[in-house]
Amino acid sequence: MKLFDRIYKFFRGQQKEIVPFKILFAEFKKSLELNNQILDLIADANDKLSGDYIFGEQYIQHTCRRLADLVRQLIVTINHLTEQKYSALYTSFHKIEEEIEALLRGRALGQVKDYIMPYAMISRALTDSVGGKNAHLAEIGTLLDHRIPDGFAITTEGFSLFLEENNLRDRILSIRQQWHQSELAVDEASRRIRGAIMEAEVPHKLRLEILAAAEVLSRRHKDITPCFAVRSSALGEDEISSFAGQYLSRLNIPLDEIPQAYKEVLASLYSPEAMEYRLMMDFRPHEIMMAVACQMMVPARASGVLYTYDPVRPEDETMIVNSAWGLGEPIVAGEVPTDHFVIDRRPPYEVRQLEIVHKSETMVLHGCGGTGIDGVQEEQRLQSSLTKEQLRELAEIGMQLEKYFKRPQDIEFAIDQQDRIIILQSRQLRLQHTRAPRACDLSDLSEKYPVLIRGKGIAAMEGIATGPAWVFSEGKNLNDFPMGGVLVACHATPQLARVIHKAAGFITDVGSTTGHLATVAREFRVPALFKTENGTEVIADGEEITLDTECLTVYKGIVQELQYYSIQEEPIEEMYEYRLLRRVLKKIEPLNLTDPTADNFTPEGCKTYHDLTRFVHEKAVETIIDLNFYHAHHRDSQAGKLLWDFPLDLILIDVGGGIEGGHAQGIRPQQITSVPMQALLKGMSYPGIWDMAPAGVDFSSFMSSLTRTSSVRATSPEDVGRNLAVVSAEYTNINFRLGYHFTVIDAFVSDNILDNHIYFRFSGGVTETIRRSRRTRLLAKILTYYDFLCEVYGDIVVARLKRTNRDRILKRLFLLGLLVGFTRQLDVEMVNEETIDIFFNEIRGIMEQKDGK
């Protein structure tokens, strides 16, 4: 029986037929089609985050499942093409799919089982376990090599253990429910939950691990007294939601008090402010998780906050620094006056504006027993809290962090006793949305309405607010703040954020645009004027006022003329659906596999749907080339390498009437009879198109580095080139990888207008974001000008043209040839905005010239 089996298999193996190329190519085309559908769907989902859309969980679920379906089909297809060579892709796929399904079901988010993670082991991938603050800080230290406080994270797994062992989960849930059903006031609910947390014990196991980790830290820093800072690092705290200021930090405590401080920080998760905020933002129970940072205390000489953009006027291209002597807590809480610096975003980072204030008080460390407020020494009171050199260095660090995290940053820092800069925290900075037209033009207002404040203060969030003033003074309760009131207070403290959903505006005597209240005001688009010096004195409690932050003016009475300007679109709230979509997109959108020659370019290396898609595309092209060029020769197709003046590694596969003559020695351009391919090559070989680079670039080396896809090992046929064109008389399908760019062109040209089409997709390119964005804008401008229906997602450009007559299609293929010929250089050359127009005109010139012929 066994023998029989073997013979049977032997014969079956022998009989294996070569699959006709037409069938293989159909599979290949199918994989391209799926590839495009997937990338479009991902881009589309990302677009939904712009805030203009209303979508529900149904949409997210539907999109995820549709994507899963397409990716699965894609994997089936590549395995058809390669006789199951990449079945390991299924494993990676199922893993990602399961993770996404878990997110959709609202399962807890933590990924690690450890309770403690030292900073050296933390990366952004662990954000859901250690919180954003820990994750970012750890990367700044380990990957970017800046000074950060040495420390470790107590993970959400530790928090879960704390809740479980103390049976707190259900208890908190039921108190929360009572509050949601208005059976309990928020203050009472908060008091009960915090009480329950404070009464609970830190589980023995967790306690031991925390103390052991702190012990390791103190041994590593024998030179200083081991005092610690215990800070919140709640989930979501650092990403978009700006409620970080609401949570507690315990500073300068001795080792044995860490567990107690840990509990206090956990309890702050349930402060009334934080609870109100989460209710407003529709947080689900599984999202309410607190990781904690435990760090060596930095005895700061000075502290401050750096914004890499002016959040209110980003168009000014400046950075903002606010700083003062001592520890940073009162600075971010808006409790002390700060020195204010405006710095150019470009090197040499000149200080454009500086304002040194009188600093009389400072927060200092008291041995290892907490903090206190001290008077500032006389000679330091009017002295700048930062040196010129420190400002320059800060600016440099700021720009580096912005580049690394790819977003404007809000950075907290300290200057230690050795005058070194220590980064304490970095997170995304929210910029103000585009403003409505300026209201300052209404110049006669001050004649009609009494002015209470004019030309004083700084706008933390621009806009117009009208309503009764509510002056927050001693003995008043924030709970009594009226709906639609304008809050007037001495300090811009984070606690005021509690009334953000009721407040029409904020006015404070002291405060800075880099404080937490400012961040929250921008998040909710509540106009805010800080640093008015005497707002609480000149504005009477209960009187109707109009705040116009753009003109730094407060009027007595309701200014009807201005009210018109205050009617704007509703702010885009950070609803649960937005967070969920962002979370699932993290498993879908990032591309980790950028380099096909890298070690991680494997099925196992695929961490997202985008990775899987990218991997399959690369392998599909490779397979088609291998099958036709290096190995089996199908009788129904001809394959050969293009012999050309330009060192372009292009394999041509003819499926019918696309090439004439023999292929054995390679294919000369004259042999190509495929009409669309001819047009493309004409464009690509247009004189000068390959060397539009300015003088100074070594042309030949430039060319070879960019067009030889893998020049180092060019001797091995497997590695020569992965540029593929499948052609027939009327059809061309091209997959180019030139340097790091990826181009796909699919075109059909005939006399029947209805059949004609061009599809063009361009992506990739390793260069800084801003140049990439110039490149995509240039391409979009050109393509749109020439009638393409053009879409841009990130750095992907997709252009389509249909139902166009033969001549026009050919002209546009010539255009695409030109673009392919020189887009590779654009990253290097698009040094400023003007280059967009320069290149645009250059291309147009060539096109018109050609028309003239």
Binding site: D52, I54, Q58, Y59, E569, M575
Partner: protein
């Protein structure tokens, strides 16, 4: 009667729809009530008429089609705008046959629905004048 606030009832089992729409529409001067349960929405409809009803078509355990049919029977002058996540031509056609004013597929932009509501309001005002 001329200056009466236009009233809108929103029914969608996905809370985000009402949450996002209600404040924006109120700011634009509409009187808005939002529901996530069709039972409650029906009870409200028993109490009073609305000028415009915005409803989802496919909701878990509820048939939006049934809801809009009842609304139209009771208040033929009410304009109904249908939003749904699973837009198919069949459903769209059926809802148009029932006298639906317009049809919007989810996800949609805030501006899109505001436009449609504006058009529905204009139609209502015009018919009132006549």
């Amino acid at each position: 009667m001329e200056n009466k606030q236009t009233s809108i009832l929103i029914l969608d089992d996905e809370p985000i729809v009402g949450k996002r729409l209600k404040p924006s529409l109120e700011k634009k001067g509409y009187e808005v009530e939002a529901f996530t349960s069709s039972k409650e929405a029906l009870e409200r409809i028993e109490d009073r008429p609305f000028d415009i009803v915005v409803t989802d078509l496919k909701m878990e355990g509820v048939d939006g089609m049934q809801f809009l049919t009842l609304v139209k029977e009771k208040y033929p002058a009410t304009e109904v705008i249908v939003i749904t996540g699973f837009a198919t031509m069949g459903i769209a056609r059926e809802s148009f046959n029932k006298g639906v004013f317009d049809f919007l597929a989810k996800p949609f932009k805030l501006g899109e629905i505001v436009d449609i509501i504006g058009r529905a309001e204009a139609k209502i005002k015009k018919s009132r004048k006549i």
